[in-house]
């Protein structure tokens, strides 16, 4: 008989040993992305043809800069969680699976940091 409670034995299970936390954060980030992504598609449709000064002035506006940063946080987080699920579903080899997930997470962290830095650099720079 184990002295651990049933709850503590069940915690942290699942294919990547994360329990229900992953599932919940995928939903929470999805919820945040509904308004953020809608705003972002529209903004890209509009600003991908902008010239350099227009683009700078747009990102420089505090509301736009903050919304961009929020989109990047929610988007990269959601994306990393999502790709992890796909790897768990299709990659059988345990070492390859853990290695793949690690690589995906690190790549998402790097891209998120670079994107957020880029926005802040423009936002804090000269208008």
């Amino acid at each position: 008989m184990s002295l651990r409670s049933p709850l503590s034995q069940a915690r942290g299970l699942g294919s990547a040993k994360e329990g229900v936390g992953h599932w919940w954060m995928q939903r929470l980030s999805a919820l945040a992305l509904i308004p953020l992504a809608l705003w972002f598609v529209f903004s890209i449709a509009r600003y991908h043809v902008a010239d350099y000064p227009t683009m700078m002035a747009w990102v420089h506006a505090p509301l736009v800069a903050v919304t961009l940063v929020l989109f990047f946080i929610a988007g990269f987080y959601h994306s990393a969680l999502g790709v992890q699920v796909v790897i768990e579903d299709y990659v059988g080899n345990e070492a390859l699976k853990i290695g793949g997930i690690a690589l995906v997470k690190l790549a998402h962290f790097a891209l998120a940091a670079a994107s957020i830095f880029a926005v802040l650099k423009i936002a804090f720079g000269a208008p």
Partner: protein
Amino acid sequence: MAENTTASKSAQIAARPLSPFMLGPYYKFQLTSVLSFAHRLTGLGLSMGTVLIAIWVLAAAAGPWSYAQFAQVARSIPGEVLLFAWSWALLYHLCNGIRHLVWDTVHGFDLKNTYLGGYLVVALSLVLTAAVWIVAFAF
């Protein structure tokens, strides 16, 4: 009986259609499974798209020259086609994602509502894609 020899058995097994050949003539496609797979495919496509989005803001932050380089590619015909496809992928994934979130509340699982939601998601994603591009350029 000849049918029961090992040789004819393995010949029979070899002649069986393997899974990709099942699709179409033997396996009937359903809206539900196609949309489910499309959610995964658009999700992966969007994940790859985030690399281009990162390059976009990094190019802008790096200065006018690098921004001009990126803009030139983005405004080429292949660039515009990719961007348009990306916008539909995002809006489809968004609409179907809302459908997922509704399912998570244990609603809409019966056959009628599953199909209704499916058709609604496809229609809404197309209407939203058209709306985004019309509004972005007309106003």
